[in-house]
Amino acid sequence: MAITTFGAIYIGSYEVSLKIFELSQRKQLRTVDHIRSRVELGKDVFASRSIGYELVEELCLILKEFRKIMDGYRVDDYQAYASVALRHVSNELFVLDQIWLRTKIRVQILSNSERRFIGYKALAFRPEFEEMIKESAALVDVGGGSMQITLFRKGKAVTTQHIELGIMRIKERLSEIEAMVAHYEKQIQEMVDKELGSFKHLYLSGKDTKYIILLGDYIGDITKGVERKKEDGTIEQERFLKKLKKFRKKSGEEELQELDISNEDDPLMIPSAVLYKRTVEEINAEYVWIPGADISDGIAYDYAQDHKILKPEHNFEEDILSAAKALAERYQSFSKHTEALLETSLAIFDAMKNVHGLTKRSRLLLQAAVILHDCGKYVSLVNQADCSYQIIMASEIIGMTHLEREIVACAVKYNANPLVSYEELADKMNQDSYMAVAKLAAILKIANALDRSHKQKFKNVKATLKDRQLLITVEAKESLVLERGLFSVYADAFERIFSVKPCIREKRMFQ
């Protein structure tokens, strides 16, 4: 049996961890070792946006040990990620360089959405998860710097929101007043309520959520000993809240005993408990599920999936499309036109398969771009291209990397605006990505041109590639004069990129 020994390193804002896994088809994922070390990078990061040398030193020492441990287990491969702890710090590159030079570990920085996606991957391999999201569920992932709430309806992710409420951040923000206030919990609650309130107002009004799924380092310990339902291991909301209400800063000896937590002096315990409690109250789901999966599991699943060791239960691409659609709906830009456009652009993409040189993943990005191509109109009809770009870049779509989001946003932008040269985009993407943007935008443009009137005058779009010509055959109910007239302008741009000339063949239908 082929077994891959894999090391997953994650650098968080208060903890650095290494998990050693054995990945195999038969046993799936087996955790062999889990080493955690407290390093409060968040202390520097949240206060000064840079990491001081003492912490870099400490971090390197630990990573060096991790390197040794991985060598001890003779790992076949490893992946080291950092998220908020190193993202956006001013000396990010220097820290990464130091780590590499001193520990021979390459650390990659994840954007928030990538980080959340990996966290969520750990779950997506679990059959219970698929069951729960079939109805409706909210996934709450609490980290040191922030939390993420992702809503699922009918088996798909519809929205994901990043809220800057992390346990380490809360603790740091309150650290100065901690000694002055009598009710520490109340202060946390006030901070939490402000942020959660807006989320609830915007995304939850009038919608029921059956399950709430909680991820995070402390939730397991907090809910130790709480009775779970036999069938799926969930906890009834009431029972959950009853236990969480017991967490107070000045608990008595006996209360502590009852709480049964492993380290009652942990300063992050109370912020965690309050944050979870308020979130569960706000989302008001019937059942709480604590799957006990952590980011390291996600890193391992991600690796196993990429290396075709394991296949997930969940279809992540569907998530991207449904999330894009939910976003479009929010900006009232999802319409019949969008659907028609999807059909046409995919027909063109598929017909061009042998000449466009794009991957299957790009097809998904094309769909996302189509769905979101008009969203900026909600803000401004004149500046819609720029507004769409901004909206897409500011919204998170779970399952998409940061670069992919940039590609989609640019494709949408240069669908409406003329494509700029690579030099102007060079700080955002590499040349391959620039080519993807150009090609997707070109396809989007001619597809869009076909429905210029937004009246869906045709159906059954077919596209075929013949020599250097792309024949787009449509069955039209009405005259396509407008479309034909504008088509030639976009066709030139298309030809310049693909060296293929698109032309419309019209089959008039008469009822």
């Binding site: 049996m1 077994i3 903890e15 062999v32 889990h34 080493i35 040794k68 287990y73 005993q257 380290n263």
Partner: protein, 710 residues
Amino acid sequence: MEKGKDFYKSEYYENRELSWLKFNARVLNEGRDKSIPLLERLKFVSITSSNLDEFFMVRVASLKDMVHAGYKKKDIAGMTPAEQLAAINKDTRELADLQYSTYNRSLLPLLKNKNIRILDAHEDLSKEQGEYVDKYFEENVYPVLTPMAVDASRPFPLIRNKTLNIAALLTKKDGNAKEQEFATVQVPSVLSRLIQIPGKKEKEQVFILLEQVIERNIHQLFLNYDVICAYPYRIMRNADLTIDEDEAEDLLKEIQKQLKKRQWGEVIRLEVEEKIDKRLLDILKEDLHVASDDIFKIPGPLDLTFLMKMYGLEGCDDLRYKPFKPQQVPKIVPGEDIFAQIRKGDILLHHPYQTFDPVVDFIRQASLDPDVLAIKQTLYRVSGNSPIIASLAQAAENGKQVSVLVELKARFDEENNIVWAKKLEKAGCHVIYGLVGLKTHSKIALVVRREEDGIRRYVHLGNGNYNDSTAKLYTDCGMFTCSEAIGEDATAVFNMLSGYSEPLSWNKLVVAPLWLRNKFLKLIRREAEYARQGKKAFIKAKMNSLCDRDIIAALYEASAAGVKIDLVVRGICCLKVGIEGVSEEITVRSIVGNFLEHSRIFYFHNDGQEEIYMGSADWMPRNLDRRVEILFPVENEALMEQVKHIMKVQLEDNVKAHVLQKNGIYDKIDKRGKKLVNSQEYFCQEAKRANPKEVNVYQERVFIPAETEE
């Protein structure tokens, strides 16, 4: 917890120091047992003497500190430090009296019967013997002596802790006879205390004590003086050790506050020969600042530890037990792959009845096995030339990840530990030097091995140290397992010991100081709950010491609820039996035998779902609060039966067991009409029977006649 309150009354508890003295009396009792071979009896008397020294240095010294610090907090038995010291003084004197009456009245005459003589007065020497002794003095002793006189210009010298010295009163040969001077000389510890000299008769073995040799020749040290008299003396100071860790933290703070009041190097005991000249004693008393209470007049040679040297006397095998050779563990065939044997199922080891070799072999094989990735082990007290250390170093050289936790705080062993810890570091091992504030007392070894179906972990858990020499003398239990749950926990233990965060959860192991006390309390209370429900409930436990207040209170509560509790406690036991409504259901017995009882077993009935645990912890506050200890469950059914059997035999022992009585006295069991059970002897025989007789390899074929059945 309304119910529990009553059980904390101080009259329900015995003071731990007094209980310890009782233990030492039980050891002395072995020295008085006529059924035991003579040299073995000498050994027991010697042990009581070294035990008492350690007790003074550690326990009495800290009580003295408390008194100086004005610390008045009462112990669990309601005694203040001063009251404890007074009681200890009284009991120690009784113990010492018994020691010397045993030595003088029974051991010396018996030795004489066997033609062995120990001379403790040089006046008894014959002429030839005297000449021999004088020559010996001149050649061997004189060069290493440093006599020191005291007068106005020379202050009283520093007398070293625990050394034997001779004090002498001198007058100048040409001076005023009334001007007496004091001088002292240390009996050199580099020379053997016992010197064999020619016998008067043939086949007679005669020994003389070194201090007598010096006394006889003391005039040679002070040539210009007349020696009026000379007597040996010995002191004990509280200088070497800081406060014993067993005391509460608030005590430490208290003492730190009063640090200046602490009298460093204070003499806490002065032993002198009974016949000592009063003038000499007065000088000693004044210059050493000893209180009258702390002076012990000894009717015989000071410091009986020299008797241990007699134990090894050549040509006297009939005066000793036949040495027992630890037997092979039936499930482990020497030389075969030990990992394969463990994979077949958990294996229990019972030392010293069974050999410690498999544990040594476990590490040795791991160090050579190419599939082994890592070896991790805690080492507490290790023998001087330990094969385990050699293997660990070898493993590191073979490229394996080797982590070793070395406990430097092991009492009296610090120096020894540092030496081999450095050795391991040189070989490339990752050496962890203990945890701040915690002694690592747990015994655990982990081997991580890469196998065809993934990583497998092999664990050895024990309650004895990884010390192949003491494993021949201490009774200990150990277990080999490759259970995944325990393996995961073992990995977590080492991560924790390496300074990483605690694991999020434990599968099987319970680790002190974090969770162990609660676990024990829960187990005891659960048993009490069953008893209240009218169900059968019992606890059988074996340990070295029992002195934790919470645990004892929980036991009282359980007993009051009707739980049958049978305890085997070798040493200190602060629990009292037979108190009406409190401890009527509790029995306590102590086994003091040829081997040192050292295993810890905790067996709970749990309404039929029996649970058995073993581990490194006693029910003492220091084990539960200030040490890293591991408690592990024995879950394999065959192993559970074995452990239950061990408990059963120990509880049936009526030869070496002393049973604690209601009045606090330990009595031996009335053997009349009973089949004698000596548990240690029983286990020896059992271990021998468990192994096939050694087959003579040269004998090719043997026909075995069938035996007729009786």
